[in-house]
């Protein structure tokens, strides 16, 4: 930086100087880290009761109430959305931007600086520096040396002087900008996040099977019109073998506009549906217990064609092509049998093991009855060869959807990408310069090498020494 001029030291400059300070950066990074720690200990956006208990545990019953209300007033219970935390991030961004702008002129000078040839004594001043004696005179060896320099990735300039023949060059100067790319990317990510919060929407929608909605809701109960209608055509949970461990949650959704179906698609936990800027995610599910749902059976009479039938609990139906009358007596979303008494019971409201109790009659006489269980194909076969498959209890479940519209997410991802490019440049590339001076006698060439790098000196040194060592052993 230029020398500070006493007369010119006005407010703007003072503020500028404050924001270029690396001490401020360190202080901000530490403050953000430490306050974030507080945010992981205190549970965020939760019922007050939980944190009250936590405070009692940490501070004791006496101190807890006053500390709790003080923390609450400071926004510690929803810290990451509080004004002061946002303020910290804003300061951090200002720090990043101003600090980077302040340093850019100096960096660009370093990048664009032309190299110049050196006098012989200067070679010895470099920390990467070595001399090699090669067989053969300069004319013989100059080609090998140029090849070596090329293999090291340098385009060199030739220079003749009283000292001898000299080659010098530099590469990857541009990598000096890489850290600024990293810094810019952080600003981009935060910008994208702000856009998402300000202009985006993040809410949820619970849809029972068969129902539709053209709005979604935020956590604090606001309604957001979507501009289209989402219908839940069906919802299903699959389980691993005969466990209660869910394997897949799947909703079949369709999108309607002006009464017409535009799109129909199933979604799973890692595969959302995207439409008109909104993304709809499978988030949760549950039972709609007060609904009169439909039992859906796939009926295959022995030797006959399969037919799908639907009925409510208590309804009767006919097996096609016969006089057998069936009746769906009971339904259980999660059937189990008591180990000792063998009594059936329902162990969950969720559809973990759906089963229907069917009763069959012919000409008023009881034929057979029993449980048909969706997850156990063995139970589908009736004694007389008819097959009853329980397909669904449709309308009994709702699907919990997360609905999001985030116009900032692409900026966030762009920021992530630029950060990676920047990190690559910052860590794996370095600004490297090399000078080689050749002096010769009739059948010997002395090669003096000097080099610098702004980073990873040891590895650069190794690469150079190995390359030139090769020249000494050849021939």
């Amino acid at each position: 930086m230029e020398k500070p001029d006493k007369n010119n030291n006005n407010i703007v400059e003072k503020v500028w100087k404050f924001f270029t300070s690396v001490k401020l950066a360190a202080a901000l990074i530490l403050t953000i880290a430490i306050t974030s720690i507080a945010g992981t200990v205190i549970e965020q956006q939760t019922e007050p009761a939980k944190n009250v208990k936590l405070f009692v545990k940490i501070f004791g019953a006496k101190l807890a109430p006053s500390i709790y209300s003080a923390s609450d007033a400071m926004g510690l219970m929803d810290m990451y959305h509080s004004g002061w935390f946002t303020g910290l991030l804003v300061l951090f961004c200002a720090n990043l931007i101003i600090c980077s702008i302040d340093r850019l002129p100096k960096i660009s000078r370093l990048v664009n600086e032309e190299l110049s040839p050196m006098e012989e004594p200067s070679f010895k001043k470099f920390s990467i520096h070595k001399e090699y004696n090669l067989q053969g005179n300069i004319k013989d060896r100059v080609e090998d040396i140029l090849k070596t320099l090329k293999s090291l990735g340098f385009k060199t300039v030739e220079h003749k002087s009283a000292d001898g023949l000299q080659f010098y060059g530099q590469k990857w100067g541009i990598s000096r900008y890489a850290v600024y790319v990293v810094h810019l990317s952080i600003v981009l990510i935060l910008l994208g996040a702000v856009i998402g919060v300000k202009f985006g929407f993040n809410g949820y929608l619970s849809l029972p099977e068969g129902e539709s909605s053209d709005v979604a809701y935020t956590r604090d109960g606001k309604t957001q019109p979507l501009g289209f209608t989402v219908r839940c055509d069906d919802f299903n949970v699959d389980f691993y073998n005969d466990t209660d461990m869910p394997k897949e949650y799947k909703s079949w959704l369709s999108i309607h506009e002006n009464g017409k179906e535009i799109l129909s698609q199933s979604i799973e936990v890692n595969r959302p549906l995207k439409y008109k800027g909104y993304a709809i995610y499978q988030a949760s599910y549950g039972p709609v217990t007060d609904k009169n749902a439909l039992i859906i059976l796939r009926v295959t009479p022995s030797g006959g064609k399969t037919e799908t039938m639907s009925m409510h609990v208590g309804d009767s139906f006919k097996i096609p092509g016969s006089t057998i009358e069936g009746k769906a007596k009971y339904f259980s979303p999660a059937l189990a049998f008591n180990k000792e008494t063998k009594e059936p019971f329902t162990y969950s409201e969720m559809m973990n093991n759906p089963a229907v109790y069917l009763e069959f009659k012919k000409d008023g006489k009881d034929l057979y009855e029993g449980w048909v269980v969706k997850r156990y194909p063995k139970t589908w076969d009736m004694p007389d060869g008819n097959k009853m498959e329980l397909v669904d209890y449709w309308g009994y479940q709702y699907t919990g959807l997360q609905v999001r519209n985030d116009p900032g997410v692409w900026i966030v991802y762009l920021g992530c990408l630029t950060m990676l490019l920047g990190l690559y440049g910052a860590f794996f590339l370095s600004h490297r310069k090399i000078w080689v001076l050749l002096k010769g006698t009739k059948n010997q060439t002395t090669v003096m090498v000097a080099a610098t790098t702004n980073k990873n000196r040891l590895s650069f040194e190794g690469v150079i020494y190995r390359a030139f060592e090769m020249l000494t052993v050849q021939r």
């Binding site: 009761a49 993040n202 691993y240 890692n270 959302p272 997360q402 999001r404």
Partner: protein
């Protein structure tokens, strides 16, 4: 033989290797050094076989997934990367003296696996975990954790080598860190003896870890354990210079350690950024529609990231070198450990306490 036998063999092998490396370091016996390398390599091969077998077995069970999706598997993978990294360093720099400092990290991890009664069976995945992003996320996060683990060891060695002023704060810092580290390791060994050799029953699997010492039911044992740890730390403080002289004997240069420390962080930081933070965010975005939700795990990853960013800036802008940045590297690794284990143990503990009726 199934994967668990191979894992078991590797586990015992790494413990033996740790002892032999320490023996080599203390007694400077060249043959012990060679033996340590052989034991480590064989254990590593066994662990590699175990990981591959486990993968294969999961397909046989009809689950079919890479063995990287739960706490147990990820810790095994961490050890695998750590030992691989160590073997590369040993080969590249032709020195075995590092072994005495790196194998204990593996030992500590193994002890943790063994004593926390975590599930080691192959379990099917719940829907949220069925994602290739998760796989990329976990793999890369653990590669970076092992790079950070190695940098931690290099930083500790640097501190041992460079500080001998018993009043200096850096000397205090490393002696206390080493004291705690070794005390925990010894306490885990005590647990191992207690439960596996003496077959003392444990009331609750959750109390097993350090249950023989620092978390014992009897307050007398607890007090004695803390006193012993403090006494041990005192001994390290008093005789830390011996370690330094041993290092000098092995001809390890401080510059190499400082450079190694930086190089490992320069390797780990981008991988952590990509795998730990970015892939994690993409996965969360895919699965739940939020790329960042400030949950404790995410936040602690951010804290870890900020710690290493602090390290880099301290080094590049303030020109901190050697002792100061080594201290930062050690502290940053503590945040790594907390991000991975502490969040599960302490924060979930606090929060689940909050949930109790």
């Amino acid at each position: 033989m199934g994967s668990s036998q191979f894992f078991g063999a590797a586990e015992i092998g790494y413990f033996v290797a740790m002892m032999v490396y320490i023996g080599y370091f203390v007694f400077r016996s060249a043959s012990a050094g060679k033996a340590a390398t052989v034991v480590t390599s064989v254990s590593f091969a066994s662990q590699t076989a175990a990981i591959l077998l486990r993968w294969f077995e999961s397909y046989q069970m009809g689950i079919g997934r890479a063995p990287l999706t739960n706490l147990y598997e990820s810790l095994e993978f961490f050890i695998w990367c750590l030992i691989l990294g160590y073997l590369i360093i040993e080969f590249k720099y032709k020195t075995r003296s590092f072994g005495a400092f790196i194998t204990p990290i593996a030992g500590l991890t193994l002890g943790f696996i063994d004593l926390t009664a975590m599930k080691t069976t192959i379990e099917p995945l719940v829907p949220a975990l069925q994602s290739n992003w998760l796989l990329a996320h976990v793999t890369m996060a653990f590669i970076s954790y092992s790079a950070f683990g190695l940098s931690f060891a290099a930083a500790m060695m640097y501190l041992i080598l460079k500080t001998d002023d018993r009043k200096g704060s850096a000397y205090w810092f490393w002696t206390i860190t080493a004291g705690i580290f070794v005390s925990v390791l010894v306490a885990m060994l005590a647990d191992y003896l207690n439960y596996h050799i003496l077959h003392t029953p444990v009331a609750d699997a959750k109390d097993a870890l350090l249950g023989s010492t620092f978390r014992n039911k009897s307050s007398l044992v607890r007090l004695l354990s803390y006193l012993a740890a403090a006494a041990f730390t005192g001994i390290v403080w008093r005789y830390g210079g011996v370690l330094k002289r041993t290092f000098t004997y092995f001809g390890v240069s401080a510059e190499l350690l400082d450079q190694l420390n930086y190089n490992l962080i320069a390797l780990g930081f981008p991988i952590f950024t990509l795998g730990g933070l970015i892939f994690g965010a993409v996965w969360a975005d895919q699965a739940w529609g939020v790329y960042w939700s400030w949950d404790p795990k995410e936040t602690w990853s951010l804290i870890t990231w900020l710690s290493y960013a602090f390290y880099l800036h301290a080094r590049f802008i303030k020109g901190w070198r050697g002792t100061k940045v080594a201290v930062v590297a050690v502290v940053a690794f503590v945040t790594v450990v907390f991000t991975y284990l502490g969040v599960n143990i302490f924060l979930s503990g606090l929060h689940s306490y909050g949930e109790m009726p």
